[in-house]
Symmetry: D2
Subunit: 498 residues, 4 copies
């Protein structure tokens, strides 16, 4: 396993193909450092003996100990640990830990490449190629990101019907040694700090969309790939103590005549499995959200409780109600993920068939529980911001800038008028308002909300997954029986698996 | 284990001490039959071989197979099965299965009586007496109810400060052979169809409230006990097919100079454990709600889906959104209970100490997850009714009475104008509206909503439990660390057990 | 103007054509008396000198003083008074005053018949016929109801496409002297206690639906008309003081080969105006809701405040929050109606044209404000019930029956345990719980909720009206201007009339 | 009346007493220009003939035509016009128009100074002094701001009990020629671009708080006054067309040994009227919100409708629901203000007395309607943001920076992948996402949300005003009557003036 320093050194050697606000930048540009510190935490913490159980695993391919972020889930315990690892790390960095994209993509492709080969009766070697790629990914402890969301062009048209064929990434040409792809993936978190980029389809596909059923992996600086990144940081802190400064990035990833050799291609035309790949990555990723959203809920709860304390109103009964609401969102989201882990199995949901075996046996979390949990926490993002705003009061919006607290003309006056809770150092109160101002009133704060709402699939995507997969028919039978309707006399038993 | 018939026969032999609308009634009065059918289901189903795993258990006292409703939870698997048994039975009867009060009370008293004896250094024999009582309870397969909620008089005063000492049930006199109690418990579900009544305290108690720290068990027709019952049934069905007609009851239980011999007394003055007894019964009962509320959610979902189908609008996208919301409430509530079961242990939460061992080793579900689940489902009751009303339309309120469908003058005309979905028999459509009218527009329907909201503790009680028990301090530390506050540099790790 | 007694006497002479639960009943059947008392209030109050301004008006047809419920709105002041009269009366009877259907229907037909004649270039005399009918309606102080909602059959099909042509009431035959109609209207409030029934279309119509563009008025016992009624009463009160017992009714109104002479026909084939008739009645009726829903909000607020007082928790801060929420719903609903009245004009909204003159000059309330107000109060029905349930506690569901308070065996015990607030007579507390039990836990209570949600058009109908009529384009221009989009440089001014 | 240029020239001559991020800045600093453009709009528009009715008035002091922002409301028509003027201007600048603080403060002080003099039996000349000051304010067309909110120190302590006496601005010394004040007001919008600052109390006061009952007006650069400002702008636009760039500012206003001559003092010790001054400014300001929040709702609606159109999903039914929700919030807020204007009178609410005459006869909007409207729109802020986020999708968070659209290496590729709706120029689509990114994902956007929630009083302040002032007792009487309680037989009539 690598250290944070080795990871950063690796990035520093990569080709410049990332644009930011009109300039080509290095991956180790100052703007990216907060983001690298977040990602670096996944190396630092994995190296600590006390975290060995939670953050590392034994590779089922090599038998070596690896960082859990590169692991294929072998059982429900692996699913539990992935959820808990994610929560622990997100608590530490006060937000998205960023590396989950990689683990979720490898677990999805691992299963899909296997089934595609099986359907092709051995005419393809996607799975063997993927295992080779994965062995290196695990051994070299690489950071992977997942490029899923296409720009999608006209939302009323399916992929093959778009006037711009690149509205979804597609196979432009099939060559003897590989394929040529074109298109653009957007909102791709952490792509500018990733070693490897995995590309997967974004939606269910029809036979005529087969050129859109494509999955592959390339280094982040691959020929034919250009990134246009946005990078999100809080205001720099010069005077106030630093605390931990989380950063994050997103990229538009543009593929132009981009050649991918067969050994890096894991799906190329199997439209049925293209759709499953899309769903399966989303499913694993919603499971990740059952770790990160509770952690973000922990941060929101801590911030709300501190805001009440700084304002010295923490004993008021309406504060209790609001904290309780935050805890409910957080722990219901966690419980959903916990249940999804515990009921995990090597199966996926197929319309009309229910849960059926899929892939070579690795574990997949229960879909309904992943979806109800992610939907709840996604829909709660703006309510959480409202509660924070409500308890904090207007000061988060109007708190003076840092340098006003450094200027001797104003410093003491400002501190005098910042004092609220007589039992807390005023510098701490100032520090807290500054942090909360960053969280609630900054570009990064707003982006965090949008990401929390839409990331991993907007609530409407989860609603569709839930109603498509849930066994509503059996519930109708229950009511037919009770209401005395004509076919209501059949036995219906509770089944927790639907 | 008994049969339903033996159970009813047992009730028929009990003394008449139940008033209903001004009259003394028999326990097997016609008004009670729907309720007895519900309770009877717990005997019928337990007798089926396919339900043996779920509905029966091996007594840890006798080694005999017993109905699970009389069992003390020995491990997390018992907790899982209790949740699933409750959901299955509530699905069958389309509502409350009613027998959970008994299992929740025996599990609470089992632990509390043990600890009270321990605190008293053997000066009391509550636990041994309780085990003797419990042995008979298991062996004779008795139905128990739990009388917890006191009338409470002036809500601004604690028990010992009330002008009416009976505002909370209390020990009026201590005699050599037992105690004399007085007071009134209300909202006591299923008391009029129970064999045995367990009485437990309703709230935390101060030293001066010690006479209110009293727990005991007596038959439902004990001398000195009078019940005033309300009984809830849907409209009788004469023409329409019967389906399943659920009934339920609640009693005011009035104790006047009521003597309880020591062998039936399990707590008598130990105020600390009185408060724990109150919380512990509530906790077990909120765990029961993680089985019954999802079942009721299943019924609501089935009814909403059928309403959409009768109206032939089941393919509209707004229907999908509403069904999805119902599923979310249901499965988040289930997941909370699942997690509470899986993280169960022989421990209770103590303020300032966290989870500490309590009782002789039986299993208690995790409090935070029981509470967040129950709070969610309790707060959703009226929203669920709104969704049903929204999808059904006005017809649930104005659908003609049954006899208008029997009168030849109006029958055919009404059926002609009842037809909506052309693919469903019109009689079924009529039958469905009649059922839904009962559910949404009846005394029983309204009572069901109030019970779903307040039963097992109103949402505010769960909020208090949540904020009192949750480790908010550790979340504040997370934020102090990230914000750079003065004492924010300590390590804080995610702990799922708080 | 008539007295209540004259009104009831009039009903007593009508033909028996109303079925209730399988029996033909008189209009003055005991079941209907609570309902007649409500309707009677509109006569009693109009006779009081202090109510002359609010409850009577000068007919623009005859110059005589008439009951305002039969009046055509001549100006915005009439609209204001109709709103305030409705609120005042609904406060008095603690719910729906029932007579608004008539005033809303006459105002709609008055305008539509005029425009249909105009379109027909004098080939029809709908308006003159209607004025003759209306003169009698005003002079004889009749109670009118409005039969609008059709059974609608298959919701996926428009009127002319239904397999059952009577799914919407239609002109089956055109004769020299009149028309023959067939079909069934349902959810028709107060039809069983009305003198005259006005029938209007229920939706927008296509040219091929022209036989469904039919409006007419007949006495409630007209040949060819059968009613199947449901009648809604609280539990009878024998022991407790009576207070005011509101009742309400709804009918299925079935027309079979029903002949309507031309002088009673006000629309017969003009599909364009059929749709406007539907919308216009709905609009006037939503304006009525801006009077009745605030009154019901007043009742809910009063009940919630009393529940808090009986429980002696009225000083808790969470009570303040909940009462404040109730007041907000109520007064926002009232303010919407107030604004709709004040901005009223002799105009209706036409798609693509905005507000255009319509009818002979009577006043129509502003559509957007009628709709936002009605939608808010409709969507709040279940939330209001939840707040009541929350503050009241479980006692509303389990409070003993009246006769248990009359039985000397239980009476004193029950009163002893009913006492909560030491400063309020216990009989008042009992009386209050009994009333609130009727409101929250009865068939009538549930029906009241369904009616409050769907009556006058479900929230979704108001949403459609709002988005269809609101000037969204001008708001897009505002943003185009600010965002610097290509056509965003045009001037856009605030217009309150949109 | 002045021009925008004269206004800016006036500011340019003021003394530098404003700190921004550690530096003393001029009032015409580049950072402030967007803000000055907003304020300048109030001069530009008032000069247009077509706006004369709406934006100007005839001074009741001088008989001259003045900008309405300096006017004392003489009747309900003035209140209506103030609301409509505010909405029109806020629509133009896409947010807060900023000048309402002045008009709301002058109207509050105008009344309070009169009543304080009356109470003092002519011993003070506050009102005459204020009229002199106001004459100049009107004649010179000055921009006023209002410094109300104190830092408040420990929220558990009242003013006179605070360890830091300056936690609320107070009279430190009374001199022959005037008073010396000390303390700090914060969140003071537009203070850095105002000519004059009016200072008023922030809360109800006890007799012992009398030194906190102080109101006065001074120029923004007065000796003894230091401002520490935060200034809020969107990202500068270099490539994209400019549109309109709104800016805003807030100041901490620190008074140190600040001398105020008597002719500028309008209250100095009259604690009863200090509290009324606080409430009255808040009331006038909540009335302003009935103009600005609907305008902001118009902008949100326009943005949501455009986002749907860019995404080409504007015909989906869920979009209709969301737009309808936005319209409801907006027009209910407008209707509340409209009703408050129409029911305005020269009266204020006094606890226990209801509405009583106050001041020399100028018009005050109805308090209940101001409060319910402001509370609704304040509580909707985060929901509005959620709807925008929901419809827009993730692109608002990850849309590339402006310079990436200027760089020839990336420009065409980005435009290619920005195209969604085929019927809208792609540059417009880019321009729109950039604007929406500013609105949802920027410091200014977050500050706008906090301001919309807390400005003019947080929702909890409106709830307190509502429940304190509403006639809840009369509603209880209604229910007592209906329920048959002992004193429920009195007549209760609907009163809209409650």
């Amino acid at each position: 396993m690598r250290t944070k320093e080795e990871y950063i050194q690796g990035l520093s050697k990569m080709k410049r193909n990332i644009y930011f606000n009109g300039e080509l930048i290095d991956r180790t540009d100052e703007m990216q450092m907060n983001c690298l510190n977040v990602m670096g935490t996944t190396f630092d913490e994995a190296a600590k003996p006390e975290n060995q159980e939670l953050m590392t695993a034994i590779s089922h391919l090599t038998g070596e100990r690896i960082n859990r972020f590169t692991h294929i889930h072998q059982n429900t315990d692996d699913l539990h640990k992935k959820q808990d690892m994610t929560r622990m790390l997100c608590q530490k960095v006060g937000g998205c830990i960023q590396r989950c994209m990689g683990i979720d993509a490898v677990n999805a492709i691992y299963n899909v490449s296997y089934e595609a080969d099986k359907m092709n009766n051995g005419a393809t070697e996607y799975h063997e190629n993927f295992k080779k790629w994965l062995t290196r990914f695990q051994t070299e402890d690489l950071v992977g990101c997942c490029a899923q969301t296409d720009v999608k062009g006209d939302r009323m048209l399916r992929p093959a019907d778009q006037p711009n064929p690149g509205a979804y990434v597609y196979i432009k040409e099939r060559l003897k040694d590989g394929i040529v792809v074109e298109g653009c993936k957007l909102h791709i978190s952490e792509a500018s700090v990733a070693d490897e980029v995995m590309v997967v389809p974004t939606r269910a596909l029809r036979p005529e969309d087969k050129d859109y059923a494509v999955a592959f992996a390339v280094p982040g600086d691959w020929d034919g790939l250009t990134q246009v990144a946005t990078i999100h940081n809080f205001r720099p802190r010069e005077h106030f103590k630093r605390g931990f400064m989380p950063g994050s990035t997103d990229s538009y990833m543009i593929f132009e005549n981009c050649f991918i050799p067969w050994e890096r291609v894991f799906l190329a035309g199997e439209h049925q499995h293209g759709g499953i790949n899309a769903l399966l990555f989303a499913l694993f990723h919603r499971h990740s959200y059952s770790g990160c959203k509770p952690a973000i809920g922990d941060i929101v709860l801590g911030a709300a409780a501190l805001a009440a304390e700084v304002n010295n109103v923490h004993k008021a009964s309406h504060i209790r109600e609001k904290l309780s609401e935050l805890i409910m969102i957080t722990e219901l989201g966690y419980a959903a993920g916990y249940t999804a882990s515990d009921l995990g199995s090597p199966k996926v949901f197929m319309p009309g068939k229910g849960l059926v075996p899929y892939g070579p046996g690795s574990y997949i979390p229960h879909s309904i529980y992943c979806n109800v949990g992610r939907c709840l926490t996604g829909e709660s993002v703006f309510r959480e911001a409202e509660i924070l705003c409500d308890i904090a009061g207007g000061v988060v919006a109007t708190f003076p800038h840092e340098k006003d607290f450094m200027n001797p003309e104003t410093k003491d006056l400002l501190l005098k008028y910042t004092q609220r809770n007589p039992n807390m150092p005023v510098e701490d109160q100032a520090q807290f308002w500054r942090y909360l101002g960053d969280a609630l009133c900054s570009a990064k704060g707003g982006i965090h909300n949008v990401g929390g709402f839409h990331g991993g699939g907007s609530p409407v995507m989860e609603q569709i997954a839930i109603t498509t997969q849930y066994d509503i028919e059996s519930r109708k039978k229950l009511v037919r029986h009770i209401a005395g309707m004509s076919d209501g006399d059949r036995e219906v038993l509770a089944k927790k698996k639907d």
